[in-house]
């Protein structure tokens, strides 16, 4: 069953991940700061789900709640229709920083997740070598992260994320620290991998370009405290960083999302 299946089917499938009315306030010395005020969203199976919003609106907080790093004040997280505390240990979380362990070699970094889960070392190494070959990193198994370029490090981080076969990939501006050429390349690698392994992805980004090219659904958040402002299906034939950018619909979506974010800046100014 594909996510392209219309929602009008007799029995609509339960969303892969659903957030219901999530609220979170941070207590600081200068008073409480409400970050999420009743956020709800539904991510279907094999969605490439984009989240955009004004900077500092709490996008990363959403991920930290899904990943089980923070507890929400109230609200529900549902995974495949069942309430759950968090998806700790079941997500692949990738951030802007590659977060490779400097004391581990490339191979050891890639094996981190499998090691945490107590998988057998010999078998894991086989899988890891396969991934490293696929991503053009063969010959670098025993290098340390410091010896690699930024693009290579982020590729290692991507392998580390994929190799544990997570239920959902949480990508928090994963490529924003890279140059444009490397970013396009890695976006392509990501899309290929996601389609090949049939992954569900949630992508947080500032880059409207990126979200239109990659995502099939985008939620726009309000400024802090964040809740859902609008949800858009991005109906572009091929979600691949180069082809999508030349799709006739691309610029329409781009301008629509831009204006939605701009309206908020106008409101703030008023």
């Amino acid at each position: 069953m594909s996510y392209r299946q219309p929602m009008t089917a007799a029995l609509p499938p339960a969303p892969k991940l659903e957030l219901r009315d999530i609220r979170k306030t941070f207590k600081t010395k200068s008073g409480p700061i409400p970050v999420l005020s009743g956020l709800s969203l539904k991510v279907m199976n094999e969605d490439f789900f984009g989240i955009i919003g004004p900077s500092g609106c709490g996008k990363t907080t959403i991920f930290n709640i899904i990943a089980g790093l923070f507890e929400p004040d109230s609200g529900e997280i549902l995974f495949e229709g069942k309430t759950t505390d968090s998806l700790r240990g079941r997500v692949g979380y990738m951030m802007q920083k590659d977060l490779l362990f400097p004391w581990r070699t490339v191979l050891q970094n890639v094996l981190l997740g499998l090691q945490v889960k107590g998988k057998s070392a010999a078998e894991s190494k086989e899988i890891a070598r396969d991934y490293l070959n696929t991503f053009g990193l063969n010959g670098f198994e025993n290098s340390y992260p410091r010896q690699l370029s930024g693009g290579m490090r982020q590729r290692v981080a991507l392998i580390r994320t994929l190799i544990v076969d997570p239920d959902i990939l949480l990508l928090d501006e994963p490529f924003s620290a890279l140059d444009y050429q490397t970013r396009l390349y890695l976006e392509g690698v990501l899309v290929d991998a996601v389609q090949k392994f049939k992954k569900t992805v949630v992508l947080v980004t500032h880059d409207i370009d990126e979200v239109v090219a990659l995502a099939n659904r985008v939620v726009v958040l309000t400024k802090r405290p964040a809740c859902t402002k609008a949800v858009h299906d991005i109906d572009i034939k091929v979600h691949n960083p180069l082809a999508a950018r030349s799709d006739p619909g691309f610029s329409n979506y781009f301008h629509m999302l831009c204006s939605e974010l701009e309206i908020q800046t106008d409101k703030r100014a008023a």
């Binding site: 240990g89 400097p102 981190l112 997740g113 410091r146 290929d192």
Partner: protein, 291 residues
């Protein structure tokens, strides 16, 4: 994998260029000052110092009775080596210092890391740690000799009292500073607190722990020698103390030079240990830019 195969070549090629560049930088650094030249200059500096000293004594600028002389030191050295006493005293002091260093550093580092594990205990302990740290540990020497006697144990105990608190504070501060994002990453992968401790906190703290080894080797030698000053039958501290009370300055210098030599060798051993335990640090050091 269409995109990946299309554009795989350019970034990969770029990456290789970058790594070779790093290697070039490393090579140009080592080429700029060859090892033999540095060694020759160091030896020349040492020989020049001894020569100037000896000359000053011979010409009467410096009083040999109060300052000793390189020739006199050499004579004493030969005597102390041939009767075997130097090796015995050196062995005694090294034993005290190394035992004190090992026990103090291991206990201190372990306690410091354990405080990361329980912030609650750390909060309770912190004023006591600050208080213990502010005692000049040497002031404890008379009590320690009373408690542990005049033999090996009291010197080891003194060295432990000097080294443990340094190791504890360094390990705890370093553990507190470990990148929270690295810890968070392990948690999202399903890591337990135990796994975060052993897979993130301990390896991330290791460089700081090893760098305290250098400081603590010095402190352990201080503990051993001061312990020997106060009460002992042998050891380099004993040699220095008794010789100075007879105004045998050359013997005092033999003791001091041997202490210096021990300290130097132990320092080099820490360098070696660092290379073995922290291979990833070596790489970053070799990528230093030229200034």
């Amino acid at each position: 994998m269409t995109i990946a195969s299309e554009s795989a070549a350019p970034p990969a090629a770029q990456d290789r260029v970058q790594t070779t560049r790093a290697r070039e930088i490393r090579m140009s650094r080592t080429q700029s000052a060859p090892f033999w030249l540095v060694s020759v200059l160091q030896l020349a500096l040492f020989a020049g110092f001894l020569g100037a000293w000896e000359l000053a004594v011979r010409l009467g600028f410096v009083n040999a009775f109060l300052f000793g002389s390189p020739a006199g030191i050499y004579e004493k050295l030969v005597v102390m080596i041939s009767d075997g006493s130097l090796f015995f005293d050196t062995g005694v002091t090294m034993m005290e210092a190394i035992l004190g260093f090992a026990i103090g550093t291991v206990l201190g580092s372990a306690a410091g890391l354990a405080l990361w594990y329980s912030p609650f205990v750390a909060r309770i302990a912190s004023p006591f740690i600050a208080a213990i740290n502010s005692i000049p540990k040497i002031a404890l020497a008379p009590i320690i000799i009373l408690w542990f006697g005049t033999g090996l144990t009291s010197k080891v105990a003194l060295a432990v009292s000097l080294t443990a608190i340094v190791a504890l504070i360094t390990a705890y501060e370093a553990a507190k500073d470990v990148d929270v994002d690295l810890q968070a990453l392990l948690v999202t992968l399903g890591g337990s607190k135990y796994q975060v401790f052993f897979m993130v906190v301990v390896p991330a703290t290791l460089p700081a722990v090893i760098s305290t080894f250098r400081i603590n080797l010095g402190f352990a030698l201080v503990g051993a020698v001061v312990g020997e000053f106060i009460s002992s039958q042998n050891g380099l501290g004993h040699v220095i103390y008794t010789a100075s009370s007879f105004y045998e300055l050359n013997t005092v210098w033999v003791g001091l030079f041997v202490l210096m030599f021990i300290g130097f060798i132990l320092y080099k051993l820490v360098d070696l240990l660092e290379k073995v335990l922290l291979p990833w640090k070596q790489i970053s050091a070799s990528q230093n830019i030229r200034l």
